[in-house]
Symmetry: C2
Subunit: 324 residues, 2 copies
């Protein structure tokens, strides 16, 4: 058996790319971060991926050529077997054979999965989903992604696209474009709603901070005015709570359908809003879950937080690449 | 190895109980039917179950004592391992250890599962779900039940209650009691809606048939006035189509979440309304499914129809009881 090697895990998001070198002892021994800048097309993104890998490896004191493999989690619909990004709206990519491209360019075997699958896999093996055999992970940020562990393994489904909770219908009588969970409960949608209300002359302390530069409202802005400390703002609380309640109803329905004991919430918005938000979602999930047995479900915050995707991607590569 | 024996499959519904003797060659060699009459309490129902088993066995020319086992599908939440009906609203049962009771009374090993699980299992092994490894079954009648085959096996989930699609939230902003899929799309709900409209002076040909005895409106009544033949009735079409579209949205979301290639629709209402109804549901499911890959999903009608539950229950007993 060859000596155990470090693996690189990459979390490719619509805004940022995160890189981590994971040692055989499951320690994060090198990190890097790059902007995604998807508007600069595939080649630009690929260049930043390579540079990020090199930087993280340099920090870890590891040659890229000494890696056991690379795992990458990409947003949207992904074929994890062929290693193809089928449809990633955030990246404006269609049918990009990312694993093959990177394997060729870097001469290191690269494995691809959906970003939330990777994060949920990380949580299942090392984090808040440890020891649970059936888990729904919901990652709330720019968009909403999901991943499922069923009977102890990542569940992919027939077309290998399972977990896309963000694209399930939330309001069945509304037209396409405004009816999905993502279109109502992502950070983007929450901010849109808040801005709409502010423009309709509802008062919010947020305007004191950002004026009319509403594009400055990030997850951390919402968090500053949400149910914690003296800055509490009624309008922010109203829109965030409405989204939390809707998330709870959707997630509760999936707990009912799949009889799940644990739900892990992650993503930028969850991390920023923290336990108060997670507890609110949990309350609704428990209210909705059927039958009573399912009300025992735990809704917990990602414990690897920012690093869930990086760890999970590295571990997926380890598992598929044979763990050399 | 002892010689192969026949098994009895039982489909225990809120209204009727169906019995079938299934030969080792998977032929239905004896049948019986009884009213459930849940209002006469557990003992009454148990008596009718025993009588039905005896009648079906007599028709098959088989001694009850010669059975290899009995499989029974019961509505609501069921623990298939302990053989307990946890919560069956239709039967007004809570925590009834049905498998144990019947095993003791009949001295034949009896296995329990959810009724729709049994039907979907039957369809997966012998019917419309043959050769599909991932299937959602939705049974629409008095209520709405569901069952899941994932990775080729019945999926139970952590609390063993998976599949309860009827109890998922359809309208998240409505209060409990009117927001679930079952509360909007079961035959009961469809008839309630129709009657409400008729009482509000909407015209319907149905009143020509039933007058004001609205309790006479059954699935077959709806079918007579729905999109087929000259009896077509605008109001019936309107309420049934609205339910079909809502079902399509819910099912499409589950196809998205679980990346499913096949959905089997069954139950009394589906059988009565037939292909026109199933095709309407399918159209909406394909519209809703994400990503495009999932739009290849087939929505098909149960091919074992009335006998899916009986076959499936018998086959579950065969499989769990060792197939003797």
């Amino acid at each position: 058996m060859p000596p155990a090697k470090p693996f690189v895990g990459i979390d490719l998001g619509g805004t940022n790319i995160q890189f981590g070198v994971v040692s055989p002892e499951m320690k994060l021994i090198g990190e890097a971060k790059r902007k995604t800048k998807a508007e600069e097309k595939l080649d630009g993104v690929l260049g930043r991926i390579e540079a990020g890998i090199e930087e993280a490896c340099a920090e870890a004191g590891v040659e890229v050529s000494a890696l056991g493999g690379i795992g990458i989690g990409a947003p949207g619909a992904v074929d994890p077997i062929k290693g193809v990004v089928l449809e990633a709206v955030n990246l404006r990519w269609d049918d990009v054979p990312l694993a093959e491209i990177l394997t060729k360019r870097l001469k290191i075997k690269t494995f691809l999965d959906n970003d939330v699958n990777a994060a949920v896999y990380g949580e299942n093996r090392l984090g808040a989903g440890k020891n649970a055999k059936n888990i729904l992970g919901v990652w709330i940020g720019t968009g909403i992604g999901g991943g499922l562990i069923l009977n102890g393994e990542l569940y992919y489904g027939h077309y290998l696209t399972a977990g896309e909770i963000g694209h399930t219908v939330l309001f069945p009588n509304l037209p396409r474009g405004i009816r999905s969970l993502e279109q109502n409960c992502s950070r983007t949608s929450i901010v849109d709603r808040l801005v709409k209300l502010i423009r309709a002359n509802h008062k919010s302390k947020v305007t004191g901070e950002v004026g009319d530069e509403f594009e400055k409202i990030k997850s951390r802005t919402l968090a500053r005015y949400y149910r914690e400390g003296e800055k509490e703002d009624k309008l922010v609380i109203e829109v965030v709570d409405a989204a939390a309640d809707l998330l709870g109803q959707s997630i509760g329905s999936i707990v009912t359908l799949l009889s799940l004991p644990r739900v892990v919430l992650g993503g930028g918005l969850t991390e920023a809003l923290g336990p108060v938000f997670v507890e609110r979602v949990e309350r609704v999930v428990k209210e909705v879950a059927f039958p009573d047995a399912c009300k025992k479900v735990d809704v917990v915050e990602s414990s690897l937080e920012d690093n869930a995707g990086v760890f999970g991607a590295a571990m997926i590569a380890m598992e598929r690449g044979g763990g050399k």
